[in-house]
């Protein structure tokens, strides 16, 4: 459904790698939440392919150098899904594996929400919905003053669209012609109390963002090939002056059948037996893929 121009198809090896990384993230989310004994499985699973694609297919990063000044920045508007980001940060060598394995235990830097003061690789703290796009905008304005050209990628929840500050930032980014700001809405259709469009409707989302002066694209948020092609084309724009918004259509709880689009699973806990089944299912996804 994307209308982005000049998209290059992503090769099969890259697609396979991104799918494997997505399975890795889902599996790690389940393992980490078993340590905390409560967590946001479903919110993490809807954005798993988006995170895998950004970190392993799009963003300019250096392994082991979380503070590299020219790195692309990532802001997590829906910070409650940070449990899906931590395994990536460990994989990039930003945080030690031992820290990951103590997720949420007393004094561990990794909590339910990402914290820049405690976690290398977290570019901005999150937890209060609605701030992240402003932060990503500020980094772009600051980069302009400092003469640095990096991208700010901001992952927003669809419920987050209810926040007034998101629209302040949207207006401001277009006004200041911040073209290296790319926001992705994880359109999983659910917030905490139920369906977004029943709790506080946000449609027509594409028209709203276009009216605010943004370039808008839509994509299947679980199709890593399409996501990667689109995000690479946006990151590759020459001298961009228009911020870009991607509506990624996703399924909350994607990858574990009994969680998919079940509102209760916004927050929950898997018993050891169910956890094993979920892990088997995720691994089987890989098997199906290979056949």
């Amino acid at each position: 459904v994307s209308t982005a121009t000049a998209q290059q198809p992503v090769d099969a090896a890259t697609v396979e790698m991104l799918e494997e990384r997505s399975r890795f993230i889902r599996s790690e989310v389940i393992r980490l939440i078993s340590i905390a004994k409560v967590g946001h499985y479903a919110s993490a699973f809807s954005c798993t392919e988006i995170l895998a694609t950004l970190y392993y297919g799009v963003m300019r990063l250096r392994r082991g150098e979380p503070d590299w000044p020219d790195r692309d920045r990532f802001m997590f508007g829906k910070g409650h899904a940070a449990v899906a980001q931590y395994p990536i940060l460990a994989d990039f060598g930003f945080i030690p594996e031992e820290v990951l394995n103590e997720y949420t235990r007393l004094g561990n830097p990794l909590g339910d929400h990402p914290d820049r003061t405690r976690v290398p690789g977290v570019d901005f703290s999150s937890g209060s919905i609605g701030h992240a796009l402003s932060a990503g905008l500020g980094m772009q304005l600051g980069g302009r003053v400092e003469g640095r050209e990096f991208h700010s990628f901001v992952l927003l929840g669809d419920g987050e669209q209810n926040e007034g500050q998101v629209w302040e930032a949207a207006m401001s980014a277009a006004h200041h012609r911040v073209g290296r700001l790319v926001a992705i809405v994880d359109r999983n259709r659910y917030c905490l109390d139920g369906e977004v469009d029943e709790v506080m409707g946000i449609e027509p989302l594409d028209e709203k963002w276009r009216a605010f002066g943004w370039e808008v694209h839509e994509v299947d948020g679980h199709d890593v090939g399409a996501l990667c092609a689109l995000l690479r084309s946006l990151a590759g724009r020459e001298e961009p002056t228009v911020p870009a918004l991607v509506i990624a259509h996703t399924v909350k709880g994607k990858g574990v059948p009994h969680m998919e689009s079940e509102i209760g699973w916004h927050l929950g806990y898997l018993s050891p037996e169910d956890e094993a089944k979920a892990q088997e299912h995720i691994a089987a996804g890989g098997e199906r893929r290979r056949r």
């Binding site: 570019d123 901005f124 703290s125 209060s128 402003s134 932060a135 905008l137 500020g138 600051g142 401001s172």
Partner: protein, 333 residues
């Protein structure tokens, strides 16, 4: 040093918004000092929310257009964006009405700036009841209380343009974020610039020592307090005066020294008597079990009347005569 007279605008000539700045040395000092430290190499950027004429940042913007960002009337976005800028090593100065910046953006200041330990400087201008007949929406009598409870945040109330300039200079290299609470830039001058070379956040300035009573004033209330204390001292009363320009971290030693003789203390602030300077001093006295009685003088937990600022100061006893009367009550109870 001038007394308690405020700068008067002529009523003989027409004027506009654009003329106001020239009559507000305290606001000129804001921009001019920002230009000065930027020239000195400080990585300053300045942001405001459609108020560059009201706070004088227009002068900074003319000098450094690439470092100035007008963020429109979207204060919360402005504060979070400033925090984002600070992650790159820049020092953002965010200026907006004190009635909006700390109240509307309290959570952004807490989470994105103070908790995140980013050196953003928040300038709340037209604090207290300086916006007179604009009414409660434009009065800020809660900001000290709110900002004081936010960990990592330094809270400073410069009394005049000299102290504002000195405190901005002192902020270069200060790692914590800072909330500067200033008036409308027309506060009478208390200090000559050279008197403030040793300015330090958290170190109060003693104007007079006094065994009978000690007045502890902050921000806009320093000038009228000084006039009131000077008058009493001319009568032979031994009244002391402390300029508590930093409300957080509070100079606890200065408070304890003032209370050492057990004589009454009087705090004076253009703020609700709940939660501000008076409360901060009360906490120190209570912690130490002091014998000193404390009189917290300010806006007595009400929403201010509307009216011209000078009339409001008289109504609430926040001009020299009103402060003098309050101190007399404590001297001769």
């Amino acid at each position: 040093m001038s007394g308690s007279q405020t700068i008067q605008r002529s009523t003989e000539q027409s004027w506009t918004l654009l003329d106001l700045l020239d009559q507000a040395p305290g606001l000129l000092a804001l921009s001019d000092t920002l230009v000065e430290i930027t020239e000195g190499g400080a990585p300053v950027v300045a942001l405001t929310g459609d108020l560059k004429y009201s706070n004088g940042l227009v002068r900074f913007a003319e000098r450094y257009p690439e470092r100035f960002f007008n963020m429109g009337i979207s204060e919360q976005n402005m504060v979070s964006a400033a925090a984002g800028m600070a992650t790159l090593g820049l020092t953002p100065f965010v200026a907006d009405f004190a009635s909006f910046l700390p109240l509307l953006c309290c959570e952004q200041i807490r989470t994105d700036v103070a908790y995140s330990q980013l050196p953003v400087r928040l300038i709340g201008h037209h604090a207290g009841i300086t916006l007179g007949f604009y009414g409660t929406s434009h009065h800020a009598t809660e900001d000290l209380s709110i900002m004081r409870s936010i960990a990592n945040l330094t809270v400073a109330c410069p009394a005049d343009e000299s102290q504002l300039a000195a405190s901005i200079r002192a902020s270069v290299g200060w790692e914590q974020p800072i909330y500067f609470r200033i008036g409308r830039g027309r506060e009478p001058r208390v200090y000559e610039p050279e008197e403030l070379r040793a300015f330090e956040f958290g170190r109060a300035i003693w104007h007079f020592r006094g065994l009978e009573a000690v007045v502890i004033a902050t921000g806009s209330m320093l000038a009228p307090s000084k006039a009131a204390v000077s008058k009493l001292r001319e009568e032979g009363r031994e009244v002391g005066l402390i300029d508590m320009h930093t409300v957080k971290p509070l100079d606890r030693q200065a408070v304890l020294m003032a209370a050492a003789a057990g004589s009454p203390l009087i705090t004076v602030e253009e703020h609700n008597t709940v939660g501000g300077l008076g409360a901060a001093v009360a906490e120190v006295l209570a912690d130490k079990g002091s014998r000193s009685r404390l009189r917290r003088h300010g806006i007595p937990d009400v929403y201010s009347l509307i009216g011209p600022p000078t009339h409001l100061y008289q109504h609430y006893g926040l001009e020299a005569a009103g402060i003098e009367a309050v101190v007399r009550e404590e001297l001769d109870p």
